[in-house]
């Protein structure tokens, strides 16, 4: 019996040994939110900023493709995804789905970045002054609020009068659906204004990737005002738009591509620019809408710099296009957030709207001449100038998410071409099911 007891005791020893591993098993793979906001180090804060900048790129390809297809800038052909040519073009009796990728993916990603910014705000609140001075903290909070405002704008761009919610700080209940897009944009402006206040006199210590010359406090402030100018334009608040432009990086004679970008790379942990599709590819194809080709003025170089003739035209579901979109030249190519060319056009628009036609024509000619066109020689009337403005916005800001919204805000959606009998031009995306089902 002694032998048995020793065997048993060995067994229990083993059992006890295994059971000795007590205690909680924590997250083995990633930091957790509660951990990072408690008492953040400088690099924790940097990581949060970088995460926010990185997250802003998520699902931008779907966002731009969606707006581009509905706004008849492009066709997006995919061997695996019918909805670019059915739902988004309103084929047959198809309508937009309130619970699928082209809406929910970008929608969720934008709010995800806003949540990240609130986490950054919480983290900054808990940051010891030995880690960052007050001026340095202001730069973090100013950046966070600026990004929240911008991300909110992109979502209300999609759903318009179907509404959106104003994002709330961590731990607060969600707000109501606000179906007045103006009110949502005003909320976005409020975030931008708060961001502006924080950035004024702040000191930036964190690194950014796609902000180029606008990575310091003054630069971020200019970026903040550039976004504000865009929103004021949408709000038809022309004087405020002009004021914001003054504080932005608008430079009538500066390079058109100067601005702030999403950067991409195929490096480890980074994401590649999936808007890049090899020219003359098959299966996954992004071609300019035929009207973009036929409506281009002779010699307008924007046709040839932004699209290229295919060796063989591409077709799907009774749609054909023969010019590939070549704005993004590789998987590492950047995608613009806002750039000087748009600011010049906002300037022109605000000047037209406020009756300062000569100022507007100066700005429009700056664009026209840069694109191999002769200076504007059309009628100097409000309507003619707005037409000219919209032409230039269409070609200058091709596939940057503007055409559809421009046509909507000028009540011109009915002018967009219908390619197949039964197709529709949608005015807005539905509110996502995950918002309406609450």
């Amino acid at each position: 019996m002694k032998k048995h007891i020793s065997i048993i005791s060995i067994f229990f020893f083993l059992l006890g040994f295994a059971a000795c591993q007590k205690g909680e098993i924590n997250s083995l793979n990633t930091p957790v939110v509660a951990g990072i906001t408690a008492d953040p180090s400088k690099s924790d804060l940097f990581n949060l900023v970088t995460g926010a900048e990185s997250g802003m790129r998520f699902n931008m390809a779907v966002y731009l493709d969606g707006l581009g297809v509905i706004g008849r800038e492009i066709y997006r052909f995919s061997g695996a995804e019918p909805r670019y040519t059915t739902d988004l073009l309103g084929a047959g009796t198809k309508v937009l789905d309130n619970n699928t990728f082209y809406l929910t993916n970008p929608w969720n990603s934008r709010y995800q970045v806003m949540r990240q910014c609130f986490i950054l705000l919480d983290a900054v609140k808990n940051t010891r002054s030995a880690v960052a001075t007050d001026a340095q903290k202001k730069a973090f909070t100013g950046f966070a609020k600026t990004i929240i405002g911008y991300q909110l704008l992109l979502n209300i761009n999609m759903t318009d009068s179907n509404g959106a919610r104003i994002p709330q700080p961590n731990g607060s209940p969600i707000g109501p659906i606000i179906t007045d897009p103006g009110a949502v944009m005003d909320a976005a402006l409020k975030f931008l204004d708060d961001g502006k206040a924080d950035l004024t006199g702040a000191e930036v210590i964190f690194p950014l990737s796609g902000f180029g010359n606008y990575s310091n406090a003054a630069g971020l402030l200019k970026f903040n005002r550039a976004i504000a100018a865009r929103i004021y334009t949408y709000r038809k608040n022309w004087t405020a738009a002009l004021t914001a432009l003054n504080e932005s990086f608008l430079n009538l004679n500066g390079p058109l591509n100067d601005g702030v970008y999403h950067t991409f790379s195929t490096n480890g942990g980074d994401i590649a620019n999936t808007l890049f599709l090899p020219p003359n590819g098959n299966g996954e194809v992004r071609v300019a809408h035929p009207a973009f080709v036929t409506d281009a003025l002779p010699n307008d170089d924007r046709l040839s710099t932004k699209t290229a003739l295919r060796n063989s035209s591409a077709s799907q579901s009774g749609l054909t296009g023969n010019r590939d979109v070549i704005i993004w030249s590789s998987l590492n190519a950047p995608v613009s957030i806002i750039r000087n060319e748009e600011l010049i056009l906002i300037y022109a628009e605000a000047k037209i709207q406020t009756g300062s036609f000569p100022d507007a024509i100066v700005a429009l000619n700056r664009i026209r001449v840069s694109h191999n066109l002769t200076p504007y020689a059309g009628a100097v009337t409000f309507n003619a100038l707005i037409n000219e403005l919209l032409y230039n916005r269409r070609y200058s800001l091709f596939m940057e998410g503007h055409r559809w919204i421009d046509m909507r805000r000028y009540g011109r959606l009915s002018q967009l071409p219908i390619d197949r009998p039964g197709d529709d031009v949608w005015a807005r995306y539905p509110l996502p099911q995950n918002e309406s089902n609450q």
Binding site: I25, S54, E284
Partner: protein, 998 residues
């Protein structure tokens, strides 16, 4: 296995014949009572002693018994045990064995260390013998062999890719986002059935758009188990039977017992299977005409000159191809390969009085129906049982598995690179075949040339796995009325899983994109389980038996998954470092669960069985890792035929039974954290809040199951019926439910409501003919389940597949958990239900002239809808076989995609299938010393199917079934099976078998 011994212990205690010192020899023959055939392997023993023997291959036995022995105990699996009286001086005792048709004497595991005779069982426990599992028409993998054999289960193959991948759901929906697959326990070792993705999403981008769940189609690790090694399977379908397995058992427990050696002559058995694999069904392709070819560019009345030019070009291309005779059926070229199947099994078993062993080696080699795909499994098993002395016995099981599967590139994708997606838009009039230099033309109709992709990529999974367990049983004390024993058990399941997905840089979809990809994953997983149990059997008199047990268990697990994805490869190279860019992802998970239990079982006059028990469990995956959750159980059965008042001789068994039990399902690892995922930009390291919100309060979902039933057998077991009704509720269902996107989170973990499943299982076994020359056994099962979401504390939400416009599973209070809704005319409507209306299986075995045996299994699934997006994609690509039919004045293919009607693609997936059919012949042997038996046979597996479903096969799942969730990818859930997106087509198989025993 040591468990059946406790049954013997009881017998030993019951009998108290004194042994005298004198001895006598007894010889005899054991035969089947009906056929008169000798039965080898029958145990003949003297009651209350260790003296016993086993009959040899001719059924003969010799036993030395002490003088004064008055009876012999005779037992053999599948036959009724008998006590045979012997007279003094009797030297020849021939034994006639009666088959136990109703399997009343079968010993069924009911606890972690206790068991009970089926005649007294309170649950409907399904058992599958090794013969039923592999003896008709062997399936490719162990899990596939369960199809149609478990009443109450819905078993679905995820795809036809070599290496398996099966979803097993017992009694409806037990979990949505927790583990929905049963726990597999092999000889006491918890056997992992995880599916680990290979990172193919980097190529296919399948999870980047419509559905974030992983769609890599990985194989399940349960497929590693060699079916030839299995002696017996018991299936505990719900909590009423599985409660003692605690917090892992909610989805059911599959208890697998492998073969063990028997003392006596060494037995060598060699089995060879040779066969072929063919596709079950092809969809067919559209036949183009010059006009329909031109229509690919746009309609004839399109004013755009570019369209008209393209129309003319396509028409010319078609005519050129037609006149050159170059019209191809690419579907058949891709999926029409006949695969060769070779399976060799050698086993050696035997042993002496103290030690027995079973050694087996198995080599299975199988080609798929797509060139370059296949499955290769080598398995080696050694099971040793040893009696240290009368009180202590030890059992060790070891199993090494090396398996390799080449799975091709199938299922959904968003880059047009998988075989099916590329085929869906490739018409018949282009030539994709390589030229004399081996260069593949570019496919102008898709992002990839499927022939090139098939011939030049590698998608391999390589597993090296060791599974070992040890079992020790110690008898502390033994008296006339009481026995106390200790059972200790330990198990280890370790595997290394290596995935390699290689895409050369000059493929059509790589040459201008990522320039070649090499994605290599390495996973190490080790799981251990430990248990110690005390069992006391107390028999105060012959009418009462009390079994008390108590025990403690501990399980630990650690998995480390590292996937490196390299792109921009050095030409011709596959090494990760021969590349321009690499990204590495790592995911680790670790858990520790422990629990303890007590159980009491009472048997009264062998007619009443009453048992009760309670288990306490905790897990580090729970929000509160220190808290023990309590899972009680109780069961009662009453066998009326054992009562004194029972006088109906025609009914030899009538039992009413009821059981209740609870079990849990621990939350998945990591569900209590809100992660900050790595997200870099421009070389800066960043962390971004995950869109999945964790929940620090997360707790296990709890299942409470009540089942009741009636078992009756008449005419000496020739007809027996087992009828069961169950009601299973799952409370605190773990959901990864949708949040309003405006919270910043797409989903959140939450215990969000209650589910209910109710069902009926009927099993009828009939032996219509039982004569020496012809025997017919027939088994008919019928079962159904209905599920309902009874409470949802969150708003209803869609949980997949690809959005409302294509049909989605939709959780909603008061509705079936498996309902499918979708947009019809802009409105969200009910379109179908994945739950079958009922299932039935019909198994027959006919034995003719003793040596011929014909067995077949027919499986009928009635109802249950799939979401057929393969048809959607072929419509989109204008290649559906019926594209040119007319619906509502439009071409069918065009009508379907533009109808705005998701119900078109929600299709009835009913089928009737001859799962298995086999004809075997035992060659009569005379005057042979060495060879004991030779068997030959032919079999067909899944060969005949009748269905109206329009996909490759009604059994399909784009999302797999146990795909693990990592930080960066979401695994499969318990609902979204039946989503059909260009899968690896299902296959059927036919084989020739030879078996020789020495």
């Amino acid at each position: 296995m040591l468990l059946p011994k406790s049954g013997l212990l009881v017998l030993l205690c019951l009998c108290s014949t004194l042994a005298l010192f004198a001895q006598q020899n007894i010889t005899g023959k054991t035969r089947d009572a009906v056929s008169g055939r000798p039965i080898p392997g029958v145990t003949v023993r003297v009651p209350n002693t260790n003296k016993g023997t086993i009959s040899d291959a001719s059924g003969n036995y010799t036993l030395v018994v002490p003088a004064g022995t008055t009876s012999l105990l005779v037992s053999y699996t599948g036959y009724k045990s008998q006590t045979i009286p012997i007279k003094a001086d009797q030297s020849v005792v021939n034994i006639s064995m009666e088959e136990d048709f109703a399997r009343l004497e079968e010993i069924v595991v009911t606890g972690l260390a206790t068991n009970v005779k089926r005649a007294n069982l309170a649950n409907a426990v399904a058992t599958i013998s090794g013969k039923e599992l592999t003896g008709v028409a062997p399936a490719q993998t162990f899990d596939a062999a369960l199809s149609g054999k478990i009443p109450g289960a819905l078993i679905t193959a995820n795809s036809g890719a070599p290496g398996g991948g099966i979803s097993v759901k017992m009694r409806g929906i037990t979990s949505v986002f927790g583990n929905s697959q049963p726990l597999y326990v092999v000889d006491g070792v918890f056997f992992s059935s995880a599916s680990i993705p290979a990172g193919l999403n980097d190529v296919t981008a399948a999870a980047t758009a419509g559905n974030p769940n992983n769609q890599d189609n990985p194989s399940s690790r349960i497929a590693d188990l060699n079916p030839e090694d299995i002696e017996n399977i018991e299936i505990l379908k719900g909590a009423s039977a599985s409660a003692l397995y605690g917090a892992k058992a909610a989805a059911g427990v599959v208890i697998i017992t492998t073969k063990k050696g028997k003392s006596g002559k060494t037995k060598i058995s060699i089995n060879q299977e040779t066969g072929f694999v063919k596709e079950r069904h092809l969809l067919g392709v559209r036949t183009f005409t010059p006009e329909t070819a031109a229509d690919l560019a746009g309609t004839a009345d399109n004013p755009d000159p570019a369209v008209q030019a393209k129309r003319a070009a396509l028409k010319a291309q078609f005519n050129d191809a037609k006149s050159a005779g170059k019209i191809y059926d690419y579907e058949r070229e891709m999926y029409g390969q006949t695969g060769l199947l070779l399976n060799t099994n050698v086993s050696v078993s035997g042993g002496g009085d103290k030690t027995t062993f079973y050694l087996s080696g198995n080599r299975r080699q199988e080609q798929g129906i797509i060139k370059g795909t296949g499955y290769f499994n080598n398995s080696l098993r050694l099971n040793v049982d040893h009696k240290i002395n009368d009180r202590i016995s030890l059992g060790v099981t070891t199993n090494y598995i090396g398996s390799s599967s080449d799975r091709g590139l199938t299922n959904n994708d968003n880059n047009g690179v998988t075989f099916g997606v590329a085929l869906s838009s490739t018409p018949d009039f282009i030539d994709l075949h390589p030229n004399a230099l081996g260069e593949y033309p570019r496919n102008p109709f898709a992002a990839s040339n499927p022939l090139e992709t098939r011939d030049r990529i590698i998608n391999n999974e390589l597993t090296n796995r060791f599974v070992g367990g040890a079992n020790i049983e110690i008898k502390f004390q033994q008296s006339a009325h009481s026995t106390t024993k200790f059972v200790g058990r330990g198990g280890l399941d370790y595997f290394n899983f290596k995935t390699a997905a290689l895409f050369p840089r000059d493929l059509q979809f790589e040459e201008n994109g990522l320039l070649g990809q090499s994605i290599q994953g390495n996973t190490n997983s080790s799981n251990t389980n430990w248990g110690g149990f005390f069992v006391n059997t107390f028999i105060p008199n012959e009418n009462i038996s009390l079994t008390s047990s108590a025990g403690a268990t501990l399980e630990t697990g650690f998995m480390d998954n590292i996937v490196t994805s390299a792109s921009n490869l050095v030409s011709g190279q596959s090494n990760l470092d021969a590349s321009g860019n690499t990204t590495t992802r790592q995911f680790r998970q670790k858990y520790r669960d422990n629990g303890f239990f007590v159980q009491e079982e009472l048997t009264l006059i062998d007619a009443f069985t009453i048992s009760g028990g309670v288990r306490f469990d905790r897990s580090t995956n729970n929000g509160d890792y220190k808290k023990y959750y309590v899972f009680p159980k109780g069961a009662v059965s009453w066998n009326l035929t054992k009562m004194k008042f029972w006088k109906v001789d025609a009914i030899d068994n009538l039992k009413v039974r009821a059981a209740y039990g609870q079990s849990g399902n621990v939350p998945p690892y990591g569900s209590k954290f809100t992660a900050m995922l790595g997200s870099n930009i421009g070389g800066l390291p960043g962390v971004l809040v995950d869109n999945l919100q964790g929940n620090a309060q997360i707790k296990p979902e709890r299942q409470a199951e009540f089942e009741t039933g009636l078992d009756i057998s008449v005419l000496k077991g020739r007809i027996s019926l087992e009828a069961t009704y169950y009601d299973k509720t799952i409370t605190d269902v773990l959901l990864r439910h949708n949040l309003p996107g405006s919270t910043g989170f797409a989903t959140e973990w939450k215990n969000s409501g209650d589910l209910k499943n109710q069902g009926i299982e009927l099993g009828l076994t009939v032996i219509p003919v039982n004569t020496p020359n012809f025997k017919w056994t027939s088994n008919l099962n019928w079962w159904r389940n209905r599920s309902k979401v009874t409470r949802l504390i969150i708003p209803p939400f869609a949980i997949g597949a690809f959005g409302n416009s294509l049909g989605t599973f939709y959780l909603e209070q008061g509705k079936p958990a498996t309902q499918i809704k979708g947009n019809v005319g802009g409105q969200l409507k009910l379109l179908g239900d994945a739950e079958p209306k009922f299932q039935a299986s019909f198994f027959n075995e006919l034995t003719i002239f003793k040596n011929f045996s014909l067995r077949f299994l027919i499986h009928w699934k009635k109802g249950g809808d799939n979401i057929n997006l393969t048809e959607l994609l072929t419509d989109l690509g204008s290649t559906t076989v019926d594209y040119d039919d007319v619906i509502n004045g439009m071409k069918a293919g065009l009508y379907r995609q533009n109808a705005g009607d998701a119900s078109i693609y929600v299709q009835d997936a009913s089928y009737v299938r001859i799962r298995e059919i086999g004809l075997y012949y035992s060659i009569p042997l005379k005057n042979t010393e060495k060879i004991k038996s030779i068997r030959v046979g032919i079999s067909a597996n899944n060969f005949f199917t009748w269905t109206r479903y329009k996909g490759y096969d009604p059994e399909v799942s784009n999302f797999g079934s146990n795909t693990i969730t990592t930080s960066q990818s979401r695994g499969s859930n318990g609902l979204s099976t039946g989503v059909d997106v260009t899968p690896y087509p299902a296959s059927k198989r036919a084989s020739f078998h030879v078996g020789i025993d020495f």
